[in-house]
């Protein structure tokens, strides 16, 4: 830095001084703007996370004041949990399915709404978004009711046609039912995000593409998708990460059944903490999941080409 200064000594030290001062002012302003976010991040996330990591290194009795250090006992205990390995596989499977289904459908709905006649646009947008206003727990309870043989209309409807589906009693149907519920609940959410991105694409680009002879699909591929990149990236990150930490939907709809076929990773963490009362092991599992997700997201971001934008 000093050498650069000296090098510029003759040409205009004031200029580089000014630009340095400006960048310092910018940084200060930037940090001022970023301060609220940073405060909440540190105060409400980093500290509790640190506490969780600390818990993972200690034997943590429910009551009592002594917490003896026991690393790596909590971590090696993870492999003793007979459900964890299977849960990892199931969670990955579920995430893959929900990502494909949800992304495709949300994007399709966004395009649908975008292209629809002005009269029905508002209606369609509202209809598809409506499920999002229910909470996840409520949506799961709602679907439990829908699929219930006693309280719900579906079984009666199917009985008319002489059909019967064991909605939640078989591993496959239980998974599908949960995926359907999640899709119903979240498609509108991601549709809105993608819609915002779609609407930001200038019409001129489409006109230019059609002049070049591109049909609808080609326009979609070469105009829409590239310009939707950051919104699609946001959606993918949210869906994939959400899938990997999936818990509530299975906890309410299938309880991990039938016969432990829909147990997710976080469900095993929950079980360790609140059924087995092994808070230290649960914390260790959380750390492992977090590390795995960090790696996953780094890979994801790189693939989706977002890192250069982050580094700005």
């Amino acid at each position: 830095m000093a050498r650069a200064l000296a090098a510029h000594a003759g040409t205009g030290p004031r200029l580089s001084d000014v630009s340095k001062a400006r960048s310092r002012r910018t940084s200060r302003r930037a940090w001022l703007y970023a301060a609220p976010a940073a405060t909440v991040l540190v105060g409400m996330f980093v500290v509790p996370l640190g506490l969780a990591v600390w818990m993972s290194f200690h034997k943590w009795p429910l009551l009592g004041d002594s917490q003896p250090f026991n690393f790596p006992a909590n971590y090696t205990a993870i492999s003793d949990d007979r459900l964890f390995t299977a849960a990892v596989g199931f969670t990955v499977k579920y995430t893959a399915i929900i990502t494909v289904v949800l992304l495709t459908l949300s994007f399709g709905l966004a395009v649908l709404v975008q292209e629809s006649k002005r009269r029905v646009t508002g209606v369609l947008r509202t209809v598809f978004f409506l499920p999002v206003v229910t909470g996840l727990t409520t949506a799961a309870l709602l679907f439990l009711g829908l699929l219930s043989p006693s309280a719900g209309p579906l079984d009666d409807l199917l009985a008319h046609f002489g059909a019967k589906v064991d909605w939640l009693g078989q591993p496959t149907t239980a998974l599908i039912s949960t995926v359907v519920m999640m899709t119903w609940r979240f498609a509108g959410f991601y549709m809105i995000i993608l819609l915002a991105g779609l609407q930001a694409i200038p019409r001129e680009l489409y006109e230019a593409a059609s002049i070049d002879g591109a049909n609808r699909w080609r326009a979609l591929w070469s105009v829409t998708l590239p310009l939707m990149r950051s919104n699609l990236a946001l959606c993918t990150v949210l869906i994939v990460t959400g899938g990997m930490v999936a818990f509530e939907q299975f906890y309410v709809m299938t309880r991990g059944g039938p016969d432990n076929s829909t147990v997710t990773m976080v469900m095993t963490i929950f079980r360790q903490a609140f059924s087995q009362f092994n808070l230290g092991v649960a914390a260790a599992m959380s750390v492992v999941v977090l590390l795995g997700l960090v790696v996953l997201n780094v890979v994801q971001m790189r693939l989706l080409g977002d890192t250069d934008e982050v580094a700005r």
Binding site: W60, P61, L62, L63, G64, L83, L144, S148, P149, S150, A151, D166, L168, G169, R255, G256, G257, P258, D259, N260, V263, M267, T268, R271, A273, F274, S275, Q276, F277, N278, L279
Partner: protein, 431 residues
């Protein structure tokens, strides 16, 4: 008129309580000694599970009214499925409520974790100490010390639909007295067809299955665990007999198919709709199920394979948390809740089972022979004891549910020995 009875009865108990406390050498803490007018008002916090909210609320409301500000209890109802979460969070933060209720099967676990304070002496000093539901007291006793008292009782029984009995040609006043007879009757009812089934069982709920299957094993003179709850004995002949009968009910179609998926949340539904001949339910159901032209409720004790009867005494126990600063005021409430006034004028009158065996036959119960029957079961009933009960039997991913599902819906009782080992492993863990 009734209020005056409650007040006079409560006043009597109150005086007795104060005298007792005074005799106990003067307890510390506010609001516990004689009414010299210097006692400050005490507010206590109490947590109860949502499934026992009605009973707890009734008691707390009456107590607060009578105490008239001297001791006030703030009752928080917690969704029962998340109860353990809240308790573990509060315990970690040393923030437990003064009065902490628990599912009775969690009693040994809570005692072992030190969440409750020792009330052995206080309980022993009660005039009716011997009549407190023995099963609950046993569950609340660890290492010879008592940590909680019975709060709400829920005894499992065999419910049957008298209307369906008649339709199937069975005598509605002569319910089955052996488990095999239950199976035969269920088959007869299932033969009625038309959407009618024989037995509806909560087949995907570990806790519910323990609640309903264990009595048959006990009635046959068998056990489900060893004395201190560290070894399972579900591969015994008695268990195999019981599970074998249920397996045959599933195989020959007398069990309603949806039983296999029933996780307990809607286990009353089929019976209440009049489409199930039998259901094994708790005593609380008697108060909540509504009779109609499709359902007339009959109640019988749960029988063993060849006879005998027993019941699983479930429900909640209530203790004073070890971190409470108002132990004496909290005890005032506990003692009051076990007294005649509370047990008769609030519980029995409201259709709930009194937690004292000496009050089993009371004027309110006499109005309904079914209530008398259920009350009488409590004395001979059991509550299984294990510090790892919830983790082993109630947990949806636990080994007990897997054992029962394989034995009833799967390959049958040959799977028992191996499955039993998994249950034992869970009972021993973390010991």
């Amino acid at each position: 008129m009734i209020q005056r009875r409650i007040l006079s009865g409560a006043a009597g108990v109150g005086v007795l309580a104060m005298a007792l406390v005074g005799c106990a050498g003067g307890g510390s803490g506010a609001g516990s000694t004689t009414n010299g007018g210097a006692a400050e008002p005490v507010t206590l916090t109490m947590w109860t599970r949502s499934v026992t909210a009605v009973q707890s609320q009734a008691l707390v409301d009456a107590f607060n009214t009578e105490q008239n500000g001297k001791i006030k209890i703030d009752l928080t109802v917690v969704p029962f499925a998340e109860y353990l979460q809240k308790v573990s969070a509060a315990a970690s933060g040393h923030n437990l409520p003064d009065l902490l209720a628990a599912n009775v099967i969690d009693g040994p676990n809570y005692s072992k974790l030190g969440l409750w304070s020792d009330i052995t002496a206080r309980v022993a000093a009660l005039p009716f100490a011997d009549t407190l539901a023995p099963a609950h007291i046993a569950a609340a006793t660890t290492g010879g010390s008592v940590f909680a008292v019975p709060h709400v009782l829920d005894a499992s029984s065999l419910y049957y639909n008298k209307i369906l009995f008649e339709k199937a040609g069975l005598d509605p006043e002569a319910p089955p007295t052996t488990l095999q007879e239950v199976a035969d009757d269920a088959a007869a009812i299932a033969a009625l067809g038309n959407g009618i089934g024989g037995l509806y069982l909560p087949g995907d709920c570990g806790g519910c299955l323990a609640f309903t299957l264990f009595p048959s094993i006990w009635a046959a003179g068998g056990t489900v665990m060893n004395q201190d709850g560290t070894k399972a004995t579900l591969d015994s002949t008695a268990a195999a007999d019981v599970l074998g009968i249920y397996h045959s009910m599933w195989a020959n179609g007398s069990m309603i198919p949806e039983s296999r998926n029933e996780a307990g949340a809607t286990q009353n539904a089929a019976f209440e709709a009049g489409t199930a001949g039998f259901a094994l339910l708790g005593s609380k159901a008697l108060g909540t199920l509504k009779e109609n032209d499709k359902l007339k409720i009959g109640v019988a004790p749960i029988p063993g394979p060849d006879g005998g009867t027993s019941t699983f005494v479930g429900g909640d126990v209530l203790g004073i948390s070890s971190s409470s600063k108002h132990a004496d005021a909290a005890w005032t409430f506990l003692e009051w809740s076990l007294g005649d006034a509370a047990q008769l004028d609030i519980y029995a009158k409201g259709g709930f089972i009194p937690v004292r065996t000496d009050l089993a036959e009371n004027t309110y119960a006499a109005a309904d022979p079914r209530v008398v029957l259920i009350n009488s079961l409590v004395k001979g009933g059991q509550t299984p004891y294990s510090p790892r009960f919830f983790q082993t039997f109630n947990d949806a991913q636990g080994p007990f549910l897997a054992l029962v599902r394989e034995a009833i819906f799967g390959s049958g009782v040959d799977s028992l020995p191996k499955a039993n080992d998994a249950v034992t492993a869970s009972l021993e863990a973390g010991a």
